[in-house]
């Protein structure tokens, strides 16, 4: 390594890895990232939303009434349109993650957090898998292969689904935008960005708490020190950033045209058939298969404040978390008389749900394993159905308990 580079590294490390300054700087960096996710993305999101509304209006006016019009307006524009709107936020989030990765800061963040993680029964080696889990739990769980100790690996696998993956962003931002007023704290901090940052922190605290509880039940209390070589600092390459962002955008678009389109189409079938019987007075969706299922399971979720529409959205949402948003878009578009309603899901739910219901759904999404692919990869990585059962069981239990507490407390306070 050239002497000059080494000197620069030492000077930067002196500040960024300082025992007193290191953690506050890390928190400040992450805070700025989530502020930017909310504030920078707004113009692009408004543009996509307006385009979807225009497209929905055009389809409604042009196509004659019938199944095809309902499919395009409710399932495609109402469902997929409500997810595609979050593309700018996902790109901005990954822009910052890629910069941190390229600059050589991420391994230093692992080093900084090693002490904190060891107190929670983890090692610094768990940092990279857990950080990857913020993109998606699947590569995060696969990245645990670099953890040699089986005990640490299993703990990391079990808490990886608690990290706030990018699939949760559409759900969180939909609810935050619908229920949190757009205002500034101290004149320059976006309140919505602050709440989103808080959701990430809650996920991390949840994961570390579960790990701490697991460590209390361990027989082997030995610690495994983290040994790693820190790379030199370097300026991120614009080309590498562009390629990385392009890949993330492609992954998101592939999910929209793949799993989200597939699930949404099947959901549209269940919300449309069987049709409204002659002489029936209620909305058509009440007589559909999805309506019947939603009403049947609604009593189970009533104590946590979920209405039957949310219950319907949770089922396809098991395929992928962000499907719940498109599913809500489809359910409300099918049940509403106005087709344009689908492109304004946020304003619709803010008028129909209580704050307690919205916060309860957010609490549910912090913990619930609403992703079958994650459970499948846990099975593959651990070679054990028991691990899948334990992980899904404790996550669903935590989700229900925290959603229940959130709903009951907020209902009583408001």
């Amino acid at each position: 390594m050239p002497q000059r580079t080494s000197l620069i590294d030492d000077r930067l490390d002196g500040i960024l890895l300082n025992p007193f300054l290191g953690i506050p700087i890390l928190i400040a960096i992450m805070f700025v990232v989530f502020q930017a996710v909310f504030t920078w993305a707004t113009p692009a999101m408004d543009f996509i939303e307006a385009s979807m509304a225009w497209l929905g209006g055009m389809v409604t006016e042009t196509l004659p009434d019938g199944l095809l019009k309902s499919f395009i307006a409710d399932a495609l524009i109402g469902g997929l349109g409500s997810v595609i709107v979050f593309l700018p936020q996902i790109i901005i989030l990954f822009f910052f993650i890629l910069i941190l990765e390229e600059s050589g800061y991420l391994p230093r963040a692992a080093f900084l957090l090693d002490k904190l993680m060891s107190k929670a029964g983890l090692t610094g080696r768990s940092f990279i898998p857990l950080l990857s889990s913020h993109a998606c739990a699947i590569p995060g769980i696969m990245a645990t292969r670099s953890i040699h100790d089986i005990r640490d690996r299993i703990t990391t696998i079990m808490i990886a689904p608690l990290m706030t993956c990018s699939a949760r962003i559409p759900v969180y931002t939909l609810l935050i935008a619908a229920f949190v007023p757009e205002q500034q704290v101290f004149g320059f901090i976006s309140f919505r960005g602050l709440i989103l940052f808080g959701m990430y922190i809650i996920g991390i605290i949840g994961g570390l708490s579960v790990s701490l509880v697991m460590s209390l039940f361990r027989r082997d209390k030995s610690e495994h020190p983290l040994i790693m070589e820190l790379p030199s600092y370097r300026l991120p390459h614009a080309r590498n950033l562009a390629i990385g962002l392009g890949e993330r955008a492609m992954i998101f678009m592939r999910r929209i045209t793949g799993i989200i389109f597939t699930v949404n189409t099947l959901l549209w079938v269940t919300t449309t058939f069987p049709g409204k019987p002659e002489g029936a007075t209620g909305p058509a969706i009440d007589y559909s298969l999805a309506g019947m299922i939603g009403h049947a399971i609604a009593p189970v979720f009533a104590p946590i404040g979920f209405n039957w529409q949310i219950c319907v959205a949770l089922i396809p949402g098991l395929a992928a978390r962000e499907v719940a948003v498109s599913a809500l878009g489809t359910v409300y578009a099918v049940s509403g008389s106005d087709d344009a309603v689908a492109s304004q899901l946020g304003s619709l739910i803010s008028s129909q749900w209580s704050l307690a219901t919205a916060l309860s759904l957010m609490a549910w999404y912090v913990f619930a394993p609403q992703c079958l692919s994650t459970l499948a990869v846990i099975r593959r990585e651990t070679n054990s159905w028991k691990m899948v059962g334990v992980t899904a069981g404790y996550l669903f239990a935590l989700a229900y308990i925290f959603a229940f507490l959130t709903y009951q407390i907020v209902s009583r306070l408001s």
């Binding site: 019938g66 079938v269 079958l372 070679n383 054990s384 691990m387």
Partner: protein, 81 residues
């Protein structure tokens, strides 16, 4: 009337495609078995060309990206004990 038929055909095709995709994703083994059975039935019915197209493509390489699960954490088998 004609429009109703056309839209029913389009919707049926899209829904059938999505149902197959969902089956492949959620129940890969069942989907694989169904493909083999369907291909055999078509071969018996004298349509070997269609049968060959329906037959599932077997993964040839055994790298981590092949989806074969050759590196599925065998080291963790002691967990089962």
């Amino acid at each position: 009337m004609m429009y109703a038929v056309i839209q029913a055909v389009i919707i049926t095709a899209i829904v059938a495609f999505c149902a197959v995709q969902m089956l492949r994703r959620m129940m890969p083994k069942l989907s694989h078995d169904l493909q083999i059975r369907g291909a055999n039935a078509l071969r018996h019915a004298g349509m070997p060309g269609v049968a060959q197209k329906l037959e599932p493509v077997e993964a040839k390489d055994d790298g981590c990206s092949s989806g074969c699960g050759s590196c599925k954490g065998c080291a963790l088998s002691e967990l089962k004990r």
